[in-house]
Amino acid sequence: MIDTLMLIDDENLFHLVFEDACSLLDMALSIEALDSSDEADRLFKKWFPNDPDHERPECVFVDLNIIGSSFDGIEMIRKVNYEYGNGVVIGIISSSEDEEEIEKAKKVGAQFWIIKSDDIEPRLEEFKEDYDGYKNRTAPFKVYR
């Protein structure tokens, strides 16, 4: 089970869906949901480099287009990986299936891409099974359709 998980998504209603789905799947003990990449950026700045291991989440799910934020999910992943220490399992959760965007995410170090839909649980369950591979950095990039 994932210890701490962060969701960055502008849709507050999806926060509830995600939290309940994760709880039902026994996927994470603690979930922190944010609706802005700016807020996530502020937190990561605070955690790095003084406290790189304790408060930062174990896994981060980022929406591709975060309305009301200064930058999108791909830029968020780039910042986490290249500016804040690259210490988390991180990937995109989005309703988009744009191959170009998927490639961009892969290039900045995203480890997975989960297609957001009404029936999210099967994909999260599959992700949960693959999670150890992501944590150990042995699993390849994967798109959960």
């Binding site: 209603l13 869906v17 309940d20 026994d26 009404d118």
Partner: protein, 228 residues
């Protein structure tokens, strides 16, 4: 995570008396001691309740999310329809403006046409006046010509009459002179006498005939002028 006996008892008591059970992710941390089947049952029940509650909430949330999506879609459709309406309204306004412009042009053309018609009417009136003047001038010219012709005819007739009278008088004088000469000198007057008498009669007759003809012509001319 294992909890103390006091905490365990409190949880069981609250569940029994108040039917309140531990919920949420904290529940995932709790563990029962080995052999403590009562607390294990309690934890299982808590988990069952938590899962039921979560599942219900998840279903409701999903429904709400779906409705939200439908509302967003409807809102987008509304925006699209509104844009179409705005576009149609703008086109209608443009058409209205075009129609107004066309109306103005038509009114201007109508005004020009009325002006042209008025000018035409005035030109026609002027033309009529000119025509009347021309006709009057023509009539005057014709009258003048007629008068001139009459005058010429009258003069000609006068000349003819004069010549004729001179001829008549000359013939009369000559014949009378010859007759007087014959009488004075005692020549044979029989031939000249009858000749003079005949000639005089013929001359008188011709003179009256000429005068009658001239008067008849004058009378006829006067009657024609009166008719005109």
């Amino acid at each position: 995570m294992k909890i103390s006996k006091e905490a365990r008892d409190v949880l069981l008591k609250v569940a029994k008396e108040k039917r309140i059970y531990v919920e949420g992710n904290f529940l995932k941390l709790l563990e029962a001691d080995e052999g403590d089947s009562e607390f294990q049952k309690y934890l299982d029940k808590c988990k069952e309740k938590d899962v039921t509650t979560r599942r219900k909430r998840l279903e409701i949330t999903k429904k709400v999310q779906e409705q939200n999506k439908e509302l967003e879609s409807a809102a987008k459709e509304n925006i699209r329809v509104n844009k179409q309406l705005e576009k149609a309204l703008a086109e209608a306004n443009t058409s209205l403006n075009d129609a107004k412009t066309a109306k103005k042009i038509a009114e201007s053309a109508k005004s020009d046409m009325e002006s042209a018609l008025e000018e035409t009417r005035l030109a026609k009136e002027e033309a009529d006046i000119l025509r009347i003047k021309a006709e009057q001038a023509k009539e005057i010219a014709e009258t003048d010509l007629s008068i001139l012709q009459k005058k010429t005819q009258t003069e000609l007739m006068g000349n003819i009459v004069k010549v004729a009278l001179w001829v008549i008088m000359g013939v009369g004088v000559i014949t009378t002179g010859l007759y007087v000469f014959v009488l004075l000198y005692g020549h044979d007057s029989k031939i000249i006498e009858s000749t003079w008498s005949n000639l005089f009669g013929i001359l008188l007759t011709n003179s009256f005939s000429i005068i009658g003809t001239i008067m008849g012509v004058k009378h006829a001319t006067a009657t024609q002028n009166d008719k005109k």
